[in-house]
Symmetry: C3
Subunit: 334 residues, 3 copies
């Protein structure tokens, strides 16, 4: 999700991460187009365990993107459905007491099944129940994490990942150290770039556990950031109206799971971010408030073409060598 | 709910169930028109225990059809409200652990109160918690079951009903035996006709327990099927856009309960199915995607007239004698 | 929320409460305009513990009014968030078993933090779990109660407040005594004026516990009623379409909390009621059913100006002396 109609993607992130435009003929663009088309053609099932606020929008967004949805809160349901679904989405937005055990159990079962899944760590850092659940995911982590900058930074802290600080010698405007950011409910109080290092380290951590050792982290904001741990992609665009409806981020996580059902994690995260940027721009044109925006946004998710999504503006940067030396294997204690 | 704008209702179901058009002056059409009008005039309360995904749409659809809605998850609430509501809707789409005991207790209380209710066995066959809940309903069953073909077949299996197999001598393309269908999340993988025998046997089972010994089973699909155990009605039409929003089936179950508050089970199921076919056709005209479709669908539920609903295309077939010999009384063990 | 497009505010409430128009230059109107503007400028966070039916609309209405939303069901979440939010909204519409302890604990924590909050006592009087929860709020009460007339009367009964009966010597058409009204699910069966005395006594009870000893009670109906215990305000207008979508009242409670984050309780309740009246009138113009009404209503919440809200028709009456003699301190036993 992008939350600023006129984002600035130049010069603000330090030389190392400025990025260059992804060429029009880059193979990744073909993978994005293929994923979008395959979802529309095969209507894959991605199941969700998600919050009560936006569960309806998550399902409707997945359907509008072309997929099939199933929502559940019970481990026995989720495990049965994981056998027929190709990906799962877990969002910790509104917790009930029994989730504390249930979610850890589900994550371990998905791990045993080598089943790919997307985590949205909504409001990471708030509430000891949520922190306990997020900690439980550390040893059975998702394939993709999608959140806003504050959530990515907070989750890296909860997982005790060794994130280089901003004043390191990398030259990058880096992510903050564990505990140096404050949670702000479900809204980000940090900008996307400040979560860059946390995202990179987290992606490397995830891929240690991921099917085929491929994973991704997506940070939503004025310009979205997606990384597989080696390369950082930035996706500008979108509409600020996305911050005036509830569930923009949650449903983006759900659609990411829909694409993950047919594509690798990096491609899934890029396709979902690009779709959301294009669809929210379409929806913002001619809307007269958040009600008509949401209606138009669901229509736009349905109408944006694979070609438009794949042709989205994307910049790319390789992770500097000094960051490559950060070993997620040494992060914290298990 | 109908999910195909151009359904084929000729020739595909075997000679025994082809059906003939329901005459324009058939008394059942007058009962349908009366039920639709009575809801708009008396705004009856039908309460719901339904899933978290589509609970908002269920309530809004009931209001748009002219009724009043109240939703709850606690037996003490439901029992208090059953004393002032005229029908109840139970949908097992998203389960929480405490539902396992709560739902059986609610069903037994409704039975003791002779209170009519509609069951939507969402995702029947998936998860042992759901199967345990559906089993608990066997001895305190609903007045109407509404589901897709896969759910009806799976529920007949869970209840151990003695459904004739497709290769029986009835000449009908019959429902499948317990366990021969695979669950597919919340989407049907079987066509409506394959659930015909399961629906007939189930309707006969339900009426053994029902107030006034009247019950019905409704199977949603490209052409909806409704039966009271003696007669099979088929309702073609609708829009394929209904499969591109979440909650089309769930909210149809809720509106069925709204009509059940003022009418007999067969009439309630027919009226709800016909309303949904007409409203979804209206909504599909001029919609530009699933967002505008849902907005237009709620408007259409509000605007379709009793006359339009009652004049819907309906075919009717009597259940063959050989099927009449199927005794639900011998079904399984209690 | 107002549910009648052409309300009658003359002559029906007894001479003592007829009211006179609030002058255009009354300072209260300036406070209302200031609250509306401050929400749009500072996007304050108001968190909610609300029912599953309309949780999405509550959040979207808060966002459309200009605020920020966070929803939760766990005490540890709520307490953490209360430290960064400026107000909280609690709605008892759909209960789960664990809410019984959780909600009392949350209320006591909010009290200890001197944190202002709004209660919507949905369906007060139905279900012993709900009654137990509402009783638990008696010793740690909200800053504002917002409900329909039946709910306000029922809550006054549950709290055992000493409400003068309608045949008292006050000359007012007064609220009914505990137990003399019947619950009707989530719909009011009493008119707003019948809850006047209950609202006055309740407001005086609340302010004994409130930060700065300021509290308010809002009764929604054809003409809304708001009182701080000394003065009764009536706000006519709105649209009957508000009764044809679910969540009009719930989301009004949420928006009241949003205004409470920046204003005193009386101003917050008046601003929210006036906004809802103006927005529902705007939405009703040109809508073609409840689907388009809801879309237009969210747009209107976004578009109605502070000036329009503050200029709303409002009548005002002072509470008669005989009612002032009612001491909430003597209400019931603790």
């Amino acid at each position: 999700m992008s939350t600023d109609a006129s984002p600035d993607i130049t010069g603000s992130t330090g030389a190392a991460l400025n990025g260059t435009p992804l060429p029009a003929d880059d193979p990744e663009r073909q993978l994005i187009a293929k994923a979008v088309r395959e979802v529309k053609e095969t209507t894959p099932l991605a199941q969700s365990f998600t919050n009560f606020v936006t569960i309806n929008l998550v399902a409707n967004a997945q359907l509008a993107a072309g997929g099939t949805a199933a929502m559940s809160y019970l481990p026995d349901d989720i495990i049965d459905t994981a056998a027929i679904a190709k990906a799962t989405y877990i969002n910790v937005g509104t917790l009930l007491p029994f989730f504390k055990d249930a979610l850890g159990n589900i994550a371990r079962s998905l791990q045993a099944m080598h089943h790919p899944w997307v985590l949205d760590p909504v409001a990471a850092g708030i509430g000891r129940t949520r922190s306990a659940i997020l900690w439980a995911f550390r040893s059975a982590p998702p394939t993709i994490v999608r959140g806003n900058a504050s959530e990515i930074i907070a989750l890296a802290g909860i997982w005790d990942l060794n994130v280089p600080s901003a004043d390191s010698d990398t030259g990058a405007k880096a992510g903050t150290k564990t505990g140096t950011t404050r949670p702000a409910g479900v809204e980000a109080v940090d900008d996307v770039d400040s979560a860059t290092n946390a995202a990179i380290v987290m992606a490397r951590y995830l891929r240690n556990y991921a099917p085929n050792h491929r994973a991704a982290v997506a940070v939503s904001g004025a310009t979205d950031l997606v990384t597989d741990g080696d390369t950082v992609y930035r996706l500008p665009g979108g509409s600020s109206m996305m911050t005036k409806i509830t569930g923009a981020g949650c449903s983006l996580g759900g659609v990411t799971a829909t694409y993950l059902a047919v594509a690798d994690p990096l491609t899934a995260a890029l396709a979902a971010s690009a779709l959301y940027n294009r669809a929210s721009e379409q929806a913002a044109e001619g809307c007269t408030g958040p009600g008509s925006f949401q209606t138009r946004f669901l229509d736009a998710l349905w109408n944006v073409t694979a070609e438009d999504i794949a042709a989205s503006p994307i910049t790319v940067s390789q992770v500097p060598v000094s960051q490559n030396s950060v070993s997620p294997d040494t992060a914290g204690t298990a």
